[in-house]
């Protein structure tokens, strides 16, 4: 049976539910703490509503990111708007944190062309479906910005399974050799569909892989939004100062199916999942903010209502959009299309 990695060496900021171990992150003020909460709620609401929309046949197959919100929001909040984000499909809704309308992302999952954006409009790469192949893109972007004398950096998300791919190795190595300003955020939820981390690697920790590339590797609690935020901010500061890439491993345990087409009961430890769901990251942060006196019932309700409203408007707008024009088969395959492209 798969044994969980020890979590005693994890970076943490949020203490236990009785407040033991709570601390503040230097430089993160009350407004930013609340902004992080709003982002967590927005992502959580997007995810939970999407599963419902899928069950209602309103979106297609959907990759669930329930309980991954702390990693996503914690990391993105450490970036400037001119920094680039390269998501995997697990971070499909990350654009919400840059102000992208929910409709756009819902349309992506509805297979509608209006769900595909211009990366330059959001400094956000397309949702990468093949595993780890976005890592070299992020390395190239970060390196290319540095070559141009700009001080923006890049953040790339990928999962634990991605660290077995050649593209992960080639991308992280390229970034390291070029001293590219890149933050590599490994969402280690310990499962690649049904494959547990022990079948993926013999490494003690995925963050240990950084050693082989000559770059820093850190490991944080993936359910602690402030720990992720602090580690990402430190990595971004180092990248911007010319210190090159950092590998961050955000450790948690996948507490939801891989996607709407997956039934994990065939392979997962249900007791462990139940335990993990009890530690879910949004409620944990909510309790931290309440202990700090920053959040009360009224504000929680206001923030959750706003997120729900955004989703209601998003799906309504998506469903009101005209069906895709089949002409779009051809419209964007090339800038200068070859004459025989339409021969079918």
């Amino acid at each position: 049976m798969y044994a969980a990695l020890a979590d005693t060496d994890l970076g943490r900021v949020i203490g236990d539910d009785d407040g033991t171990g709570d601390r503040r992150v230097d430089g993160v003020d009350d407004a930013e703490l609340l902004a992080l909460y709003r982002s967590l709620v927005l992502l959580r609401t997007y995810d939970e509503r999407s599963v419902v929309y899928h069950s209602q046949g309103r979106i297609g197959t959907y990759a669930i990111f329930w309980n991954h919100e702390a990693i996503q929001a914690g990391a993105v909040h450490a970036l400037r708007d001119d920094d680039w984000i390269f998501p995997s499909y697990r971070e499909s809704a990350i654009g919400l944190l840059r102000g992208m309308p929910p409709t756009t992302i819902l349309q992506w999952w509805r297979g509608h062309p209006s769900g595909w954006w211009n990366p330059a409009d959001w400094n956000l790469g397309s949702i990468a479906v093949p595993i780890a192949t976005q890592v070299p893109h992020a390395a190239g972007l970060a390196w290319g910005k540095k070559l141009r004398g700009e001080d923006s950096c890049a953040l790339v998300f990928f999962g634990d399974g991605a660290t077995s791919e050649g593209a992960f190795h080639e991308g992280i190595n390229l970034a390291a050799v070029m001293n590219a300003p890149l933050v590599l955020m490994c969402n280690n939820n310990q499962w690649a569909i049904s494959t547990p981390i022990a079948a993926q690697t013999r490494a003690r920790a995925l963050a240990d892989k950084a050693v082989g590339y000559g770059i820093p590797g850190v490991r944080v609690d993936g359910l602690d939004v402030l720990a992720v935020h602090e580690a990402t901010r430190d990595a971004v500061d180092r990248a911007r100062a010319g210190g090159g890439p950092t590998l961050i491993e955000a450790l948690h345990y996948r507490a939801a199916p891989h996607g709407t087409a997956d039934d994990p009961r065939a392979y997962v430890d249900s007791a462990r999942v139940a335990e993990e769901r009890g530690r879910e990251c949004v409620g944990r942060y909510e309790r931290y903010l309440r202990r700090a006196g920053l959040l009360d019932d009224a504000l929680v309700a206001e923030i959750k209502d706003a997120a729900l409203q955004a989703m209601r408007e998003g799906i309504t707008a998506a469903e009101a959009e005209a069906p895709a024009d089949p002409e779009l088969l051809f419209a964007n395959a090339y800038v200068g299309p070859p004459g025989n492209m339409r021969n079918g």
Binding site: W84, W116, P136, G144, E170, V177, A333, V335, G336, P338
Partner: protein, 321 residues
């Protein structure tokens, strides 16, 4: 005009395009300090600096994936794959991203990258230094593919590729890197993609080829007492269908020649085009002279694999009964 080898023409194009556009950069394995294993990139590091002629780690998928990111940062990367068969790891990035990213952005972001690589056999090299992988590339939507056979085209097609807003792959016939010599215009010189070249005019049979096989067809035409028209298609995508069909209308007989294995090779596409569009012009079957459906061989027997003047001549004679 200067008389250059095909390899020198490639080098000339790179110097010209890097000089012309400050966004153009060259990257690849051994392209900087060594100037490339064939010296195609010689002098670029010294002239344009380490930021625009970059020695990369030995990782073709990372190299091409990195170039996707460089495009997003505003560069026009020219990626050298050191050899044909060394490019295979990059097919992952080529298929999953390079050919699709423009489409994926709803046509709003361009990926003007160029991949260039020496390709083809006949040079007495170790295994996996003699492949002709053009069909893998041309089968990938979103990618353009061109293959020069002369020094002037090597310069002009590469310049066109670098300036093109779409990803373009240029295969350079290494067999004639140093033996193909010819006049090459100095400075700015572009040969547009999608225009075939009639290498030799004739009336009895059309020989269609690209890369090093153009020379084999020209030698065949000289050796035979038959009027052969030799078409160097130069660009596989976009393809100049009209030049091919016009020639078939004139001669009624076709032999297609390529080094790559036969099955699903580009010759099959050309044969299908002619069957669909010119079958009533034909006076005989469309024939192919190609490599065989085997791994590219040990070099002591590679001449038995490569299409030769003898094999092309036999095909021509069979058509003329």
């Amino acid at each position: 005009m200067a008389e250059l080898t095909l390899l020198e023409a490639v080098n000339d194009a790179l110097h010209t395009e890097l000089e012309r556009d400050a966004d153009v950069m060259v990257l690849g394995e051994d392209v900087g300090r060594a100037g490339g294993v064939f010296r195609a990139t010689a002098g670029l590091l010294e002239r344009f600096g380490a930021g625009r002629c970059v020695d990369t780690p030995l990782a073709e998928a990372g190299l091409l994936g990195g170039a996707v990111g460089l495009c997003m940062a505003g560069w026009r990367p020219v990626v050298e794959m050191q050899y044909d068969a060394f490019s295979y790891p990059c097919l992952d990035q080529l298929i999953t991203h390079v050919g699709r990213y423009h489409w994926r952005t709803g046509g709003r972001m361009e990926f003007p990258l160029t991949i260039r690589m020496p390709y083809g056999g006949g040079v007495r090299a170790p295994e996996l230094h003699g492949d002709s992988p053009e069909a893998y590339y041309v089968h990938t939507p979103g990618i353009k593919v061109a293959i020069p056979s002369t020094p002037a085209d090597a310069k002009g097609l590469l310049a066109a590729a670098i300036r093109d807003p779409d990803p373009v792959v240029i295969f350079e016939p290494k067999l004639v890197y140093r033996t193909a010599r010819g006049e090459v215009p100095e400075g700015d010189y572009v040969v547009p993609l999608g225009k075939a070249r009639i290498a030799r005019e004739g009336t009895d049979v059309t020989l269609i080829a690209y890369g090093a096989m153009v020379n084999v067809c020209e030698l065949t035409a000289e050796a035979l007492d038959v009027s052969c028209e030799v078409i160097d298609i130069r660009s596989l995508r976009p393809l100049d269908e009209e030049t091919i069909l016009d020639s078939v209308a004139k001669t009624g007989r076709v032999v297609i020649v390529h080094e790559a294995p036969r099955t699903a090779g580009f010759g099959a596409e050309l044969a299908a085009l002619i069957a669909e569009r010119a079958i009533f012009d034909l006076q005989g079957p469309v024939l192919r002279v190609t490599g065989y459906d085997v791994p590219y061989p040990y070099w002591t027997i590679e001449d038995a694999y490569m299409p030769s003047v003898e094999r092309v001549s036999a095909a021509v004679r069979s058509l003329l009964g």
